[in-house]
């Protein structure tokens, strides 16, 4: 697997409130994420996992009216400080979305190279071919598509499309990779492949993954954060953040235990 072009970075969230217009979606979250670790966000639907994740690479503000208060420090630099360019931030903090979204006008190969090409980085043909193969292998897609790299990316199945999106995200070699339920559309074999990938990525990247799959969280993550919501219309809150083994075996909060043992949510 490729080594990231920079060192993996730590993330430190302090008193973060996340809004959609007037609506407070996530309330007062503080969390420290170590470099070269995998952190899982778990919690019931609508508790703000995706929302919080999107604030970590400033994707949140793409929606009109969406804003945050509080601090996010990446290796000590404030992500929301004055003069910070979101584009630069996103080049270092990559993201895989809940729904697969390959570019419809591009072939499989062009999709993988999109991050490089669209940022006008020069790359030789052989280096491009190598990058495509490396990224697709990393996403466990290479064997399925190696004979049709010039075919449209949208001609793939949903699960293949998602792995293509993962390949696209790791092709730009970010320092942090945010993954929003990357496996919700995948079969168990591909899921396992993605989990292997995450384990490899951990050597060089910081990975944050949102998942509804408890086993997956237990398998891949070092730390787990459990979020919960008091009711619809209420903001989501961080309930408990600890070592994954602690969260699953010996949680401090009753609601965490109920959730991970499947008694509610």
């Amino acid at each position: 697997m490729s080594k990231s072009n920079g060192v993996a970075k730590s993330i430190s969230v302090k008193d973060l409130n996340v809004y959609y217009g007037e609506f407070l979606a996530v309330h007062d979250v503080s969390i420290d994420i170590a470099p070269r670790s995998v952190t899982a966000f778990i919690g019931p639907s609508g508790c703000g996992k995706s929302t919080l994740l999107r604030t970590l690479n400033r994707m949140h503000e793409v929606l009109p009216g969406a804003h945050v208060t509080g601090e996010v420090l990446v290796d000590g630099d404030d992500l929301y400080g004055a003069g910070v360019d979101p584009v630069t931030v996103r080049r270092q903090i990559g993201m895989v979305f809940q729904r697969p979204n390959p570019f419809p006008t591009m072939s499989i190969k062009e999709n993988v190279l999109a991050g490089v090409r669209l940022n006008n980085r020069r790359i030789s043909r052989s280096a491009a071919d190598e990058l495509v193969e490396r990224s697709l292998r990393g996403a466990n897609l290479w064997n399925e598509v190696k004979d049709r790299l010039d075919k449209p990316g949208q001609g793939l199945s949903g699960g293949q499309q998602q792995r293509l999106c993962i390949a696209r995200a790791i092709a730009v070699e970010p320092q942090v990779l945010l993954m929003d339920e990357p496996c919700s559309a995948l079969d168990p074999i591909s899921t396992l492949a993605v989990e292997d990938l995450i384990n490899e990525l951990k050597d060089s990247y910081t990975v944050v993954i949102v998942t509804h799959n408890m086993q997956q969280a237990a398998r891949v993550s070092d730390m787990t954060a459990f979020f919960n919501i008091a009711g619809s219309g209420k903001p989501g809150k961080l309930i408990e953040y600890a070592q994954t083994t602690t969260i699953f075996n010996n949680p401090a909060q009753k609601s965490t235990e109920d959730y991970v043992s499947g008694r509610f949510g």
């Binding site: 690479n57 270092q92 049709r148 449209p152 995200a169």
Partner: protein, 366 residues
């Protein structure tokens, strides 16, 4: 073997799922019957195509309803009735189109030949055999004028329209005053009568260049006024259809907004944009009044859009009828020829739009 599989094997027992049904061709036979009946009535009253078809409908609709009501059931009867009514409505809507096409083709085909397309009108010459003065009657000046004026109008409208649409969709915040203003102005522009657009261009160029400032350029400006709002709206629609997911995917790769729009959003929407632009062209290519005002009309060849009157096909059709030359029949047939050429041009444009859409459409085949 259970009873169920038994029944499965021997469908001799009546299938309890069937209902009573009219024979397969019953509808067709009823229609033929209604037609014959209508023709018979016509035999008594005198023949008229329209009355024949109308009478056929009048006989057919109740007949098929009653037949189905008796032989089938209420739901099917109603279904047959409504289906017939919808077909009649469709044919009614089609009738003016077919009638127009038929008139234009039948009257225009006579004059449509290579000479009509390749020579311009007005140029008189002497026939060497008879030594008579014959004036050529071609439409070349109108074809060239139409292509130049609509071409120029497209050249003005597409950049302005596309950029406005990009501003509205990609940049303007929903409640921002400039966005609301632009939206309002585009709506107002959509409602501008074409004659007003012509007046606007005419007076603008008269103010700038003095009296009698007829030119193809002026007509192109008038057409742009009509075309820009159509282009804005169709491009806006197409850009909005591009899923937000794609923009986010691009942003998440650290791609700037400008590059995202140019390399992701527009290529994804290009098929729709091209179709919209072509349809906008097809709409203004038939405009008569504004061109008549801004470019006047002429029989002589003028390929310079910057000065002098210019002819277009719709204006030629109009003037050929309204201000015929000495040979009135010739002028009239020229008018029909111009109309036919215009229809052909529009059809070609529509085909081009389809081909463009097909070429650019995102490919999903494996």
């Amino acid at each position: 073997m259970t009873a169920a599989t038994e029944a499965f094997r021997h469908p001799a027992v009546r299938n309890r799922l069937t209902t009573r049904q009219l024979p397969k061709r019953a509808g067709l036979y009823t229609l033929i019957g209604a037609f014959i009946l209508a023709a018979a009535v016509q035999g008594l009253t005198g023949f008229n195509w329209f009355a024949l078809l109308a009478l056929t409908c009048v006989f057919y609709l109740p007949a098929i309803y009653l037949l189905s009501r008796v032989k089938e059931n209420r739901r099917k009867a109603l279904d047959r009735l409504i289906r017939s009514l919808v077909t009649v409505a469709f044919l009614l809507a089609l009738a003016p189109l077919i009638s127009t096409l038929w008139t234009v083709v039948s009257k225009g085909l006579g004059i449509l030949n290579w000479e009509f397309i390749s020579t311009s009108g007005g140029a008189a010459r002497i026939n060497p055999d008879t030594l008579e003065l014959v004036s050529s009657s071609g439409a070349l000046q109108a074809i060239v004028g139409t292509l130049q004026i609509t071409g120029l109008a497209t050249l003005f409208s597409v950049p302005i329209g596309l950029l406005t649409a990009i501003y509205l969709v990609e940049y303007a915040q929903p409640a921002f005053w400039l966005r609301r203003t632009v939206n309002f102005l585009v709506d107002v522009m959509t409602g501008i009568p074409s004659i007003v657009a012509g007046l606007f261009a005419f007076s603008l160029f008269t103010l700038l260049l003095g009296p009698k400032a007829f030119s193809g350029l002026s007509a192109a400006v008038a057409l742009s006024v009509l075309m820009i709002p159509t282009v804005v709206r169709s491009c806006e629609e197409m850009l909005r259809l591009v899923p937000a997911d794609l923009r986010e995917a691009s942003y998440a790769l650290g791609v700037t907004k400008y590059v995202t729009i140019v390399r992701i959003v527009i290529p994804t929407a290009i098929a729709g944009i091209a179709t919209g632009v072509t349809l906008a062209i097809a709409r203004v290519i038939g405009e008569t009044a504004p061109i008549f005002m801004a470019a006047s009309f002429t029989d002589s060849f003028n390929a310079n859009p910057l000065s002098g009157p210019m002819q277009t096909l719709p204006v030629m059709a109009y003037t050929g009828y309204k201000f015929p030359g000495q040979n009135i029949d010739l002028s009239n047939s020229q008018a029909w020829g111009a109309a036919l050429l215009l229809v052909l041009l529009v059809i070609v444009l529509n085909l081009v739009a389809r081909i463009i859409a097909m070429i650019f459409a995102p490919k999903t085949s494996r």
